[in-house]
Structure formats: structure tokens, C-alpha cells
């Protein structure tokens, strides 16, 4: 037995020799652990840079957000749409729409990053900390706003906005999702943007990062979506009055590689590194062939009805016989404007009509704003609104200009819902949608991806369909 013990002892030594702690640590190649990845201010800044890239280039504003909203709207030719796009277009989206799920996850991935940044602010120098935090909060708010617009009914759907909104992700935890009310959702968004506005730099000349005007522009958008016209008017005015931005003189430069003077926030195009607008080019561009997304004849005829409006040229009905396509995104590459001065003018003009009764100077300002858009569209001032234009007429004209100006930019859907939810019956149009749906029909908002319910069986999904 002694010998046996001796041999087993020898073997035990061999066993120990083979035990190697390092051998059991095999991180995936090219992947760094969080403790090593987030150690310095530069690391946090790099995480922040990624948020912009994801927002402008990979996910939201590369076209996924805009095209999703357009699928739900009334500016697309429906007959050739299939699969997930057809489902959205029929306003019957379901939990299995993977396009919607990817967009949803992508936007929340930015939120996850912003939360990580906020958690790691102690790594940032005191001098830079307010800016970094404000940029993160600004983007976190923008993400929640865009998700809220697509996945929950518009403010005004219920009188106290107690209807269900979205999951608010204020930290990087993996807690199962639960929906806040729309009031809580918009309160959070506004608080975040206001906080960001305070801490952000006044102006970033490259316009590729958030500054005060970015926060204000989005505050204007948020309030406008809520039909809170006073705040929308005021915040749009702050942006416009900053004089940092000027309208492009021609219509084509907003989506080109030439730096657009009207971009308040944008993603630049750097060939081979980031070339934003991928989804817009993929589905709208008719540069090399008939695109997937085509425009309805009804819309073409509507724009054609405004004789002399040069924006009709965006709707090309000659290149592909029998088909109309939007050539706004035909450039091989272009800078992606995320929020623009044009939108601020359109927002302030319509808001001005709404607040004309309480702000005496607003009507004239609004008329001037909308005339800037009209003059550029027609190439002259023959169609300008007269100074005697009433508030109601201004509102009507601002809505028209907004629709034509922002064709294919994902705005139309939100106006259908906003105008339907207008607090004043006289200015409310419940079927602003040309396809005949009421603004608050269930299918006008997207169904949540199944992943949300997967993580929480009690998660309340949206009601589907019922629009067409």
C-alpha cells in the first residue's frame, strides 16, 4: 500500500501542476473587460462618441427611425411593400417585427451607454464633467422621446396623459421592463433636456455634438408634439435667435456632403469611416434602380396642386415609368442632419399661429418664418403669405409647408397624431391621415418587440391593428 500511496502522491503533484488559474481566463479576443475598458476620462469620452455614432450613423437617424415612421404614415406607395414593412404600413405591427425590434433595441442601446457614462462620471475631470453629463442626458432624452413617439400614443390620447408610455431607463440595470405613463415619460424627457440645456456649451461650431441649441431644439420638438405651443414657440425662438444657423438657399443642400448651414446637430460623412443615411439610401434612393420605397400618386398630385412649388422635383415620376420616387436621398453620400433650422422655422410658425392670441408679436414672426420656407420653395415671393394672414390661416399654411418640406423625413406620422390630439376642436383634425385612419387608432403606434414581454410576462403590450 505504501507504494500505491507514493504513486498517487506523485500523481497529485502532476494534478497540481496542471491546475493553472490563468488557463481558465479566456476573454473573447478583441473584447476588453469593463474594468479595463472604462478606467479614464478618455474612455468615458470614447463611450460618449459611440453614442453619437450609433444615433446618427448606425441606428436611429441613419434612416431607420424616419423610414419606420413613414411606413406608418401616408406618404408611401403601399402595393409593393412586403413583410415587416407591409405589416407596419397596414398599421398592424406585431411583436415579431424584427425591424422594429432592432430599432427599439438600438435606441435603447444608446440609452444604456448614456447611463454607463453617467455612472462613470467620477472618472471625468471636474471641468468636463458637466458637459459630459449634459451630453449624455441630452441623448438619453432624445432616445426616450423618439421611442415614445413611435411606441406610445400621443399626449392628449387621455385627458391626463395617464395612458401607457414606455420603459424609462435611468440606469444601466437589467431590471425587467415596466411602462411609465405618457405623462411620466414626457416629464422625464423635458427634465433631462432642461438639465442638459443648463450644462451644455452655448455653441459647438462643428455641430457634431450637443450644445444648448440642440437641447432647446429638442425641447421645441417635444413641446410641439405635446401641443404645448407656448413652450414650443419659446424654445424654437431661442434656437433661431441664436443666429448660429442660416437656411440653405437651395433645396438640395440639406442632404449633401456640403456642410449644411441649417443643421443644428448632424453626423458628418467621412468616407470609409462613417457614411450616415444608410437606410434612407437603401430604400429611397433611385440612383441605381427603382427603389423599394416609392411615393403614392395621391401625394404627387397634392404637391403638383401647388403650382410653381419647386419641391415637386423631389418626386420624380419620369425616371422609372409608372413609378414615383423621392430623389431627396439620391446622393451617394451626405451629411445627416438630425435637427435643422428649417424644422425650427416650421415649428415656430405653426406655434406662432397657436399663441398669437397671447403673444402679440408672434403672428408676424410666424408669417415671416413660413415665408422664408415658401420663398425658398418657389424661388420667389409670389406665394408669400400676406401680413394680414390670420392665425388660423398661418396654422393651415404652416401645416402644408411642413408636410411638403419634410416629405420622407419621418415627420408626417407625428403630425397626423399631434393634430389629431389638438386640444382645440377647431384646429383638431382627427383624420388628418389621407388613408383615413383616426389619429388614435391602435395600430398607429408600433407594437413592442417580443423581447420586452419576454423579460416580464406582465409587461403590457399595445393593442394592435384597428386602423385600416
Amino acid at each position: 500500500m505504501k507504494n500505491i500511496l507514493k504513486y498517487f502522491l506523485i500523481m497529485a503533484l502532476v494534478l497540481n501542476a496542471t491546475s493553472c488559474k490563468k488557463l481558465l481566463e479566456k476573454p473573447p479576443e478583441g473584447s476588453v473587460q469593463e474594468a479595463d475598458a472604462l478606467k479614464t476620462e478618455a474612455d468615458v469620452q470614447a463611450l460618449l462618441n459611440g453614442c453619437y455614432l450609433l444615433m446618427g450613423n448606425d441606428q436611429m437617424y441613419n434612416g431607420k427611425l424616419q423610414t419606420t415612421a413613414e411606413q406608418l404614415g401616408d406618404h408611401l406607395f403601399s402595393a409593393n411593400l412586403g413583410g415587416k414593412q407591409q405589416e407596419n404600413n397596414l398599421r398592424r405591427s406585431t411583436i415579431f417585427n424584427t425591424d422594429n425590434a432592432d430599432l427599439f433595441t438600438g435606441i435603447y442601446n444608446i440609452v444604456y451607454r448614456t447611463n454607463k457614462i453617467i455612472e462613470k462620471l467620477d472618472l471625468v475631470s471636474e471641468a468636463n464633467r458637466p458637459r459630459v453629463e449634459a451630453e449624455a442626458r441630452c441623448m438619453r432624452a432624445i432616445c426616450h422621446f423618439e421611442i415614445a413617439r413611435l411606441w406610445s400614443h400621443n399626449p392628449g390620447f387621455s385627458t391626463d396623459n395617464s395612458h401607457l408610455g414606455i420603459t424609462l431607463r435611468k440606469s444601466g440595470s437589467l431590471e425587467p421592463p415596466t411602462r411609465a405613463t405618457v405623462k411620466e415619460t414626457y416629464d422625464f424627457i423635458i427634465a433631462e433636456l432642461k438639465d442638459a440645456e443648463l450644462k451644455l456649451p452655448a455653441f459647438v461650431s462643428t455641430r457634431v455634438r450637443a450644445d444648448k441649441n440642440v437641447a432647446r431644439a429638442f425641447l421645441a420638438k417635444v413641446y410641439f408634439q405635446m401641443n404645448d405651443f407656448t413652450n414650443a414657440y419659446n424654445y424654437a425662438s431661442l434656437v433661431i435667435n441664436s443666429t448660429n444657423y442660416t437656411l440653405e438657399t437651395t433645396l438640395k443642400t440639406r442632404y449633401s456632403t456640403t456642410a449644411s448651414s441649417e443643421s443644428i446637430l448632424k453626423v458628418t460623412n467621412i468616407n470609409g469611416q462613417h457614411e450616415p443615411g444608410g437606410r434612407l439610401k437603401q430604400w429611397y434612393s433611385g440612383r441605381t434602380g427603382l427603389p423599394y420605397f416609392r411615393m403614392p400618386e395621391q401625394l404627387y398630385n397634392y404637391v403638383k396642386g401647388f403650382a410653381g412649388d419647386n419641391r415637386l422635383a423631389f418626386l420624380n415620376n419620369t425616371k422609372y415609368s409608372g413609378n414615383i420616387y423621392l430623389n431627396k436621398y439620391d446622393s451617394n453620400n451626405f451629411e445627416m442632419p438630425i435637427v435643422t433650422l428649417t424644422e425650427m422655422y416650421l415649428t415656430r410658425a405653426e406655434s406662432a399661429g397657436e399663441v398669437a392670441a397671447t403673444i402679440p408679436t408672434a403672428l408676424a414672426i410666424g408669417i415671416a418664418d413660413i415665408n422664408k420656407i415658401i420663398e425658398r420653395a418657389y424661388g420667389n415671393n409670389t406665394k408669400n403669405l400676406a401680413p394680414t394672414t390670420t392665425a388660423d390661416q398661418l396654422i393651415i399654411n404652416a401645416r402644408i409647408q411642413r408636410e411638403i418640406e419634410l416629405i420622407g423625413e419621418g415627420d408626417r406620422l407625428h403630425q397626423i397624431k399631434r393634430i389629431g390630439a389638438h386640444p382645440l376642436a377647431a384646429r383638431r383634425i382627427e383624420r388628418y391621415d389621407r388613408r383615413g385612419s383616426e389619429w388614435n387608432c391602435p395600430g398607429f403606434i408600433l407594437q413592442f418587440p417580443d423581447y420586452e414581454k419576454n423579460a416580464n410576462a406582465a409587461f403590457q403590450l399595445n393593442v394592435e391593428g384597428g386602423c385600416l
Binding site: 507504494n3 479566456k26 473584447s31 462618441n49 397596414l90 427599439f104 414606455i166 414581454k453
Partner: protein, 1019 residues
């Protein structure tokens, strides 16, 4: 008669020993011949021992032996391959002994983890299948040939694609996201068997096991319970398949040659409408939608006019299929001396499938050498090179397309003779592309066995499983349409598996009633998968890169140098393990075994780095008890039971890290991207496994069998999905807290020798397995959390793994032809909604198994194997698209439709889009019980007629045996499934999909029907 030096030496030694002992006993020299009772052939290598003494010898290649023994003594004949047999000498000088193979004997040697045991010592559930039974079958891979041969082993054969993988499940499935495949161990080397190394490229999961040569296999042991598989710890939960390759045998060089020549076609052709019928259906849908007149031009797919569409009638199935040819040749040699034993085997085989350009070519060579350096030191080499060339086709461009988007109204060629490309064109694809996967696999191990003292064996082994795989794709200029010409692309992949283990085993026999067998060991394994981060390509090529290796090397170097490509590690996992086993036999009838393994792995998080897996088992050889020793009915009876904990760690490595990557920039500034949600608590999945079984042999060994009951409960399931998307991620690896999945079942194997005479032997056998699977607890996750990837299956509490979650289809409203659904409460509705879905149907069968028969008359042998599955469902995921509105061809079985008011039909009215059915937003969601079918089937898997040429005919030839046979596979199938083939293992998206969706079809190519002529020669 010539006497060799060796024989003289043997005789001298025997004389020497007999001289020593002659004073004590009346010793005689006994000679004899031992033959195999089955075929009468010489049984070489059989140990002949004089009972009660240490005198022993071995039979030579002619089965002959000479031994000195008392005239009233008893000789014991034993061997790995034969049942132990005792023969009384009774004063005879020569003996003729017919020895039975050990398949039903308690003395049969069985390969277990890290060693061997006699069947009587085995306390776990182990099924042994001989290599001959696997290699004789026409199967795409050796593991597929296990079908119907082992109770509790469910084998769902792969599709008709060459080299396709089968789904193997041992006693059910308890995993969700982690791989549910068994661990494959070849000669002690846990090998790479990952079916997802190439994802599901081309509509098929590449099977890395396909390159392994079935002709090299001596036996396969399937370890099914914790008593058997517990020694594999964190990798034993799905069962273990031990593959033992052939080794050299004593005697002069012996050669064996076999071949297979055969024809391959499909089991069943799905029937589709022709061009004219298709247009009629289009017209019908057009009118059903309220249109009048001839079907609108915008509605005819492919931009064809009504007249053009009506003029075409292409049979796309015919264009992509053929009669395939099988051509296989195997040659092997064994040679053995006292010191050196060698096995050398080589194979060439090419198996064409019935799909044009699709074949699997196997080239293999194996050299196994055992060399006794000194009496107590042996070195063993296992060495195999396997080359598998899969001449692939993209399923979705050929055979699947022929069943779906390729309409009969589409032409093959345009009027100008160019290829039509309306919706792909398989003729163009087959002529103008190449797609080939080449696996070069080296499997080698070197082991040193040292016995420093009696009964102590120390074994150290190191092994390498290296797989170099090239996926070559080529497109001619006609396909690329590029001025640069054709493009040749290659996707290389390298998988390296190092394994080293040291074991010490000690047999301690303190007295005749007690016997202990100790095993202690340690093992390390590292597995690494590398690829290039993209394809290596070259433009302007006329041929694929496998024909231009220089261009591949140049391109690879160029891409590496310009940093557009790099070799990268995509998975690198390690295990460090310690294990031990004690097997205690009391009075030769009570056996107790304890085993334990501790596994550390790079797959587990820092808070759970090591797992401990104990198992206890016992066996009672009831037939050895006095009260049964004289039984005329019971020859052997053994009860076994085991309980143990085993694990499943079949997940990618390093998933517990919070990962960040940094490869991009934003306006010139660096970007950091989070790419993984980590989990430091991540650990193995745990299986608690109880087994109770009985092995028996009755009626003079004519009836034998096994009956087993098992209960397996899996907890801490490894789970990847189910993370709320609002976290910013859709997946993260974690253990399902509180999750519990039950597999409980019964297995019965019976073999009965009905007639056993000199000339006629008739036997029948079979097995049946019933596995009850239920998800006992799942926790607060949604009903769609656990999906089968592409396939519409779910895991839900109270239901089996792989349940269909579908809207119930009630039927067609005879008034308007619209479908009527049932909502969740069973109320009829015409509005489709995913909210109406309920859990119905299941992919797992109630029973499965096989029935075999064997009739031998003189030299003839007729064998058959039927396999069957009872219960379970098939979901046809493609049927929802098989409609004119979707511009897919229409299967004839789906034509029973509503046409006019009053019609009672199986399927609803045709329409230009199923979105015209209220509530449906897309064809993708058109899932319902309308396409759920009964999965039961019975299949004549194998029918084989063989003829062994009598010895008197071949005695003047160099051959010792010669056998001819003709066989047919998948000849008959009986099923209610109206689609092509009821046995379905489609391409899967990931292991979770594979766990949940074996019976979901999506244009899965029907299985092959094969006719084989084969010849086996020994010389």
C-alpha cells in the same frame, strides 16, 4: 507441417512449465481450435487459461492453441470480443471450441469513461453498438447510423443534403440555449462536434463529424445516465458517446477490403402545380379579390405577360435533381506480435446526393499502434487523417427554391439564350458557381501506460484534434456581372483541440470476496476556433481557390499585410478537471461505484469557476444468487441503479465578461462600444439524474434485453434570450433561476433468437423508448421568450420543450371562404391575431425506436431494420408561404380550397395577399394549426440481403472470407404527413433552435433513398 520459431518457443516454454509441474499433477498437452460460433471462422487472440492456475496462452490467427493442463482440468476461454466460456478437458487431447461473441454476456468488455469494465461490473446505463453495424449502413455520418439501434437514443436523420447533420438526443432534452448534443469522445479525446462552426450557411449546418470514417470504428458506447457519464462532469448531462477505433490484433498481417456501390434518389417528391394550373390559381385569386377580367399584369410575377406566363411550364425539381452515385472503398490491415500491434486503415468514398452537384467525398487514413516497450510499459498511438470534401449547394438557390419561389411560369433561358433571372435560377447557379467545404481533420493521441507494480496502471496521454476547414465559393463573371470577372472566395476556419490527461488505476483485491478498482485522474483541455475576419477573395478568377492554392496564399498575405483581414480567435475555451472513481465488487454479485469530477472552465464566471459533479451507482447480479443459480429460465439477471449530478457547459466561452470593443471613430475621435452584458455568476447547467434498470438473459440466452427507467431533472438552465430589449441588448447568458425541466422515461430492448439450428437462424429484436418531457418551472418570462429561432416553437411551463405556439384554425367559412380561427377561449373569430395563440402540438414523440430482424440460412443473411416514431407533430413552416399571393408555387396537397359559396374545403379562398384575411399584417405571421401535422411514421430504414461465399468455394483463393450484399435504405415510409418526408432535421439557427425544433420543416430537402451493392473480403 511447418513450425515457426515462435511456435517452437511457445512449445518450449510450455514444456518448461509443464516440466516443473509434472511432479505435482498429471499434465497433458492439449491442443485445439477455437472458432466463432456465429460464422465458424477462426477466433484469434482468445486467451486460454487453465482454471485455478496461472497457465495461459492465446489462440493464433488460425484459432489454434496448445496448452498444458491436467486431464481432468477446465480450460477458460476469454477475450474482449467473446463471452467467457469454460470447457472441461475430460481427458481429451484436442478440443474444438465454438465461442460466442460477447454481445449478451456479462463478461463482455465495455468501454467506460477513462477505462474499460466488464459488463458485470458496469453500474451505469451503457448501450454498445458495434462498428460493423454502423459502417454497413448508408448514412451521412456515423452517428446517424445509430438510429433504431440504441434505446433512449433518438436520432433524427438529417436532410437529403450530402453531409447533413442529424439531431441526436439521449433520453430527451433538458437544455434551452446550451447545446443539447452529447459529448463525443474518440479514443479518449473529446472532439469538436459543433454543428454551428459555419452557422447555417447555404441552408445547412455543417457536420464536423461527417469526415470521421465509420470504418475505423470498433465500437460505440453510449453513456446515458450519471452512473456512466458522471465521470465527464460538467459535460455529461447530454450523455456521452464513446467511439473506440480499431486496433491491431495478434497474428500475421490480415487484410480486409470492402466497398459500396450504390444509387441515390429521394424518398418522396413533393408535388406542385404546373404552369397552366398556377395561372389558373392566380386568376382565381384575382377574381376572389373582387377583380374582373384577365389577371392584371402587375399581379403576374416576374414581369411576364399573361401569354408568356401561360406558355411556360418549367419543372424546377427536375432541373435540380438527379440519380446520385455512391462509390466507396475501404482497405485495412491488422498485424500483431507480442510487442507490437498495428491497425492501418484507409478509405475513399464519394456519396452523391440526389441534388445536382451535391456530394460528400471522404478520404481517410488511420494508423493505430500499440507497442510494449517493456513488459510493464506500453506506448499507444492513435492517428487519423480525415478529409471531407462537401461539394455543396445553397439549399435556398436550388432544391428549396424549386419548392418555393421558382414558379413553373418562369423560363430557364431568355429568348436570346441568356439565363433568365426572374427569381433566381438554379440552372444558372449550378453552372456558374461553385461551393465547396473542405475539412482536413487530424485526430491523434499518444498514450503511455506504465504499470510500476502489479495491478497499478498509470496512464498519461496527450492528444490533438485539429480541424482545418475551407469554405470555398466561386461565382463566374455571369453571376458577378463585374468587369473584373469571376470572383473566388474562401472562408478559412481552424479548430484546435488539445487534451492531456493522467490517470492512475489500481485494482485491489484483498481477498476473493472483495475487489476494488480505483481511478484517479486529471485532465486539461483547450479548444480554440480561429478564422479570418472576412473572406479571402480574388477577382478575375476562372476557378475556385481550391484549384489555385497559390492565389489563395497570395490573397491571404495581401489582406493580412494591408490589415483588412486578420486571423482572429472567435472562441477559446479551457477545462481543468480532477476526477476519481471507485468501483467495488462484493462477492462477484454486488457492485458499488462512486465517481466525482471537479471541472474548472473558462466558460464559467469568476463566482462559479469550479463545479463538482458526484455520482453513485450500484448493481446487483441477481442471477449469481443461490436461489437463481440453477434456474432453467434465467441465465443472467442484473439490476442497476444510479443517482448523480452532471452538467452541461455547452456554451461559448467568456460570456461572463462585460465586453467592450474599440475599432471605430467618430469624427476622428475614438469610440468605445459595449458588446456584451456580462454575468460573473454564470455557471454550468445542472442535471440530477436517477436511473433504475434491469439486464436479463433468459431461456438459454435466446431472449435477452434491458429495461430501464430514468428520471432526469435539469435546473439552472443556461439561457441567452429573454432580456428586455429596453436594456439595450436582446441577449445575455445567464442561468435560469428556478427553472426546472423533467425528462422521465422507459426504455426496453429485446432480442429473441426464434430459431437456432446449424443452417437456419432467425432472430428478431427491437427497442422502444418513451420519454416524458415537461418544463416544470420557468419563472416570470413571457411566452415568446424561448423561441426556436427560425421556427415557431416555444418552451413553456407545463409543456414539453419544443411546443408549438399557434393560432388554432377552425376551418373555412363555407359562405365566403375566409378562415375561421379560435381565440384563446375557444370562441370562433374571423380576425387573426397573435393574441389567439395557444400552446398546441409538440416536436417530441411519445415513442420511438427500431425493430430489426435477422434471418440466416446457410450463407445467406436477410436483415431488416424498421424505425418508427409515434406521437409528436410536424410544423410545416413553409406552407404558410405556399400560396399564389406570396408568389410561391403551390403544393398539390394545399389545393383543397374554397372556390365558391357553399364549398366545404380544408383551406381558405385564394387571395392575392393573405393580408386580405382580416387581422393579418404579413405572411410571416400566418402561423396556425392549419399547417400542423401528425409526425408519426414507420420507415423501412434498412433491408439487406447478404451472401457469404462458402469456404469450400473460396479455399483456393487468397481470401479467408468473402461476402456480397445488396441493401436498400429508406425504402418504405408510412406516414400521415402530406408533405415530402416525415423525418425532419432542417438547418438550425443556433443550439437553442436545434434543441427545440427537430420536427419543423422549411423546404427541408427530403431524405435519400439508397440502393447499395457491397463486397467484403478478408485475406
Amino acid at each position: 507441417m511447418k513450425i515457426s520459431l515462435k511456435q517452437i518457443r511457445k512449445i518450449c516454454i510450455m514444456l518448461f512449465f509443464s516440466g516443473l509441474s509434472v511432479t505435482a499433477f498429471a499434465q497433458n498437452s492439449i491442443s485445439g481450435v477455437v472458432t466463432n460460433s456465429k460464422d465458424g471462422l477462426p477466433a484469434s487472440g482468445v486467451t486460454v487459461t487453465v482454471k485455478g492456475s496461472k497457465t495461459a496462452t492465446q489462440t493464433d490467427e488460425k484459432g489454434s492453441f496448445i496448452i498444458t493442463a491436467p486431464s481432468n482440468g477446465i480450460l477458460v476461454f476469454s477475450s474482449v470480443s467473446y463471452a467467457r466460456q469454460e470447457v472441461a478437458i475430460n481427458g481429451k487431447a484436442s478440443l474444438a471450441v465454438s465461442i460466442a461473441s460477447s454481445t449478451t454476456s456479462l463478461d463482455e468488455v465495455v468501454v467506460v469513461g477513462y477505462g474499460t469494465q466488464k459488463r458485470r461490473e458496469v453500474t451505469g446505463a451503457i448501450t454498445k453498438v458495434s462498428g460493423e453495424k454502423l459502417s454497413s449502413v448508408a448514412a451521412p455520418s456515423f452517428e446517424a447510423a445509430l438510429q433504431g439501434k440504441a434505446a433512449g437514443v433518438q436520432v433524427v436523420q438529417g436532410s437529403g443534403l450530402a453531409g447533413s447533420s442529424s439531431v441526436i438526443r439521449i433520453r430527451g432534452i433538458g437544455s434551452i440555449s446550451a447545446g443539447g448534443d452529447p459529448l463525443y469522445v474518440v479514443d479518449g479525446i473529446p472532439i469538436t462536434s459543433d454543428q454551428f462552426l459555419r452557422g447555417d450557411a447555404g441552408g445547412m449546418n455543417q457536420n464536423p463529424l461527417a469526415s470521421i470514417n465509420p470504418n475505423d470504428i470498433e465500437s460505440v458506447e453510449v453513456l446515458k445516465d450519471a452512473g456512466a457519464a458522471g465521470i465527464y462532469g460538467s459535460r455529461g448531462a447530454n450523455g456521452v458517446i464513446l467511439i473506440t477505433t480499431k486496433r491491431g490484433k495478434s497474428g500475421r498481417p490480415k487484410f480486409s477490403y470492402s466497398n459500396k456501390l450504390g444509387l441515390v434518389t429521394y424518398t418522396q417528391k413533393p408535388e406542385f402545380v404546373n404552369g397552366k394550373e398556377y395561372m389558373q390559381l392566380k386568376q382565381e385569386a384575382w377574381q376572389n379579390d373582387g377583380n374582373v377580367g384577365e389577371v392584371g399584369s402587375n399581379y403576374i410575377p416576374g414581369g411576364l405577360t399573361f401569354a408568356q406566363a401561360n406558355a411556360n411550364n418549367t419543372d424546377w425539381w427536375k432541373e435540380v435533381t438527379r440519380t446520385g452515385f455512391i462509390n466507396e472503398h475501404n482497405l485495412s490491415m491488422t498485424y500483431g506480435t507480442k510487442k507490437l500491434k498495428t491497425f492501418l486503415g484507409t478509405t475513399y468514398g464519394n456519396s452523391e446526393s440526389y441534388i445536382k452537384r451535391n456530394s460528400y467525398e471522404r478520404q481517410a487514413v488511420r494508423l493505430n499502434v500499440d507497442y510494449n516497450i517493456i513488459d510493464n510499459l506500453k506506448i499507444s498511438l492513435n492517428s487519423a487523417y480525415n478529409k471531407g470534401i462537401n461539394n455543396r449547394i445553397d439549399n435556398y438557390q436550388t432544391i428549396a427554391a424549386a419548392q418555393s419561389n421558382l414558379l413553373p411560369i418562369y423560363p430557364i433561358y431568355n429568348p436570346d439564350g441568356t439565363y433568365s433571372t426572374i427569381s433566381g435560377n438554379p440552372v444558372r447557379y449550378l453552372n456558374e458557381t461553385k461551393f465547396r467545404n473542405t475539412d482536413n481533420r487530424y485526430l491523434g493521441g499518444l498514450a503511455l501506460e506504465f504499470s510500476p507494480i502489479k495491478d497499478l496502471m498509470i496512464r498519461a496521454s496527450g492528444s490533438l484534434d485539429y480541424l482545418e476547414s475551407f469554405d470555398d465559393q466561386y461565382e463566374s463573371k455571369i453571376i458577378t456581372g463585374d468587369a473584373r470577372g469571376g470572383i473566388a472566395k474562401r472562408y478559412p476556419l481552424w479548430v484546435t483541440n488539445y487534451n492531456a490527461n493522467v490517470t492512475a488505476s489500481y485494482l485491489w483485491t484483498p481477498n476473493t470476496t472483495n475487489k476494488f478498482n480505483f481511478l484517479l485522474g486529471t485532465e486539461t483541455q483547450e479548444s480554440e476556433i480561429k478564422n479570418t475576419n472576412g473572406d479571402i477573395y480574388s477577382w478575375g478568377q476562372e476557378d475556385p481557390l481550391y484549384k489555385n492554392k497559390g492565389i489563395y496564399k497570395d490573397s491571404l498575405n495581401k489582406f493580412i499585410n494591408d490589415k483588412s483581414r486578420k486571423k482572429q480567435v472567435v472562441d477559446n475555451s479551457t477545462f481543468v478537471s480532477f476526477f476519481g472513481r471507485v468501483n467495488y465488487t462484493l462477492k462477484e454479485k454486488y457492485v458499488f461505484q462512486f465517481s466525482a469530477r471537479m471541472d474548472g472552465s473558462s466558460k464559467f464566471g469568476p463566482n462559479n469557476k469550479y463545479g463538482f459533479f458526484p455520482a453513485a451507482s450500484a448493481a446487483w447480479l441477481i442471477s449469481e444468487e443461490k436461489f437463481l443459480q440453477n434456474s432453467k429460465i434465467i441465465n443472467s439477471l442484473k439490476l442497476i441503479t444510479s443517482y448523480g449530478i452532471v452538467g452541461n457547459s455547452n456554451i461559448p466561452t467568456g460570456r461572463y465578461y462585460y465586453g467592450y470593443g474599440s475599432t471605430r471613430n467618430y469624427n476622428g475621435s475614438p469610440v468605445l462600444d459595449p458588446n456584451n452584458i456580462g454575468n460573473p455568476d454564470l455557471k454550468w447547467e445542472t442535471l440530477r439524474n436517477f436511473d433504475l434498470g434491469v439486464d436479463f438473459s433468459l431461456l438459454n440466452n435466446r431472449l435477452s434485453g434491458e429495461l430501464s427507467y430514468y428520471r432526469k431533472v435539469t435546473v439552472d438552465q443556461l439561457l441567452e434570450p429573454g432580456l428586455g430589449a429596453s436594456t439595450g441588448f436582446q441577449k445575455s447568458w445567464r442561468n435560469l433561476e428556478g427553472g426546472k425541466i423533467l425528462n422521465e422515461g422507459l426504455e426496453l430492448t429485446l432480442n429473441y433468437m426464434i430459431i437456432k439450428t446449424k443452417d437456419l437462424k432467425v432472430s428478431i429484436g427491437g427497442n422502444i423508448s418513451s420519454n416524458y418531457n415537461e418544463v416544470l418551472k420557468l419563472g416570470p418570462i413571457g411566452p415568446d421568450a424561448l423561441q426556436g429561432g427560425f421556427n415557431d416553437t416555444r418552451i413553456a411551463e407545463g409543456y414539453p420543450v419544443g411546443t408549438n405556439f399557434l393560432v388554432r384554425y377552425f376551418g373555412v367559412d363555407p359562405k365566403d371562404g375566409l378562415p375561421i380561427w379560435l381565440d384563446r377561449d375557444g370562441k370562433q373569430t374571423k380576425t387573426f391575431s397573435l393574441d389567439h395563440r395557444v400552446l398546441v402540438g409538440k416536436v417530441l414523440p411519445d415513442f420511438s425506436g427500431g425493430i430489426n430482424s435477422d434471418i440466416q440460412y446457410k450463407g445467406f443473411e436477410l436483415r431488416s431494420l424498421w424505425t418508427y416514431v409515434s406521437g409528436g407533430n410536424i410544423y410545416d413552416g413553409s406552407a404558410k408561404y405556399q400560396n399564389v399571393g406570396n408568389n410561391w408555387n403551390v403544393r398539390r396537397d394545399l389545393l383543397d380550397r374554397w372556390v365558391k359559396p357553399g364549398d366545404v374545403a380544408k383551406y381558405p379562398r385564394l387571395t392575392s395577399s393573405v393580408t386580405n384575411y382580416p387581422g393579418l399584417g404579413t405572411n410571416d405571421n400566418y402561423n396556425s394549426t392549419m399547417f400542423l401535422y401528425d409526425a408519426s411514421f414507420v420507415r423501412l430504414r434498412e433491408l439487406s440481403l447478404g451472401y457469404t461465399i462458402p469456404q469450400n468455394v473460396i479455399k483456393r483463393t487468397p481470401f479467408t472470407t468473402a461476402k456480397l450484399s445488396v441493401s436498400g435504405y429508406n425504402l418504405l415510409t408510412f406516414s400521415k404527413y402530406p408533405g415530402a418526408d416525415p423525418e425532419i432535421a432542417r438547418d438550425f439557427q443556433n443550439p437553442q433552435d436545434r434543441n427545440m425544433s427537430p420536427n419543423i420543416t422549411y423546404l427541408t430537402p427530403t431524405q435519400s433513398k439508397t440502393f447499395i451493392f457491397s463486397l467484403n473480403l478478408n485475406f
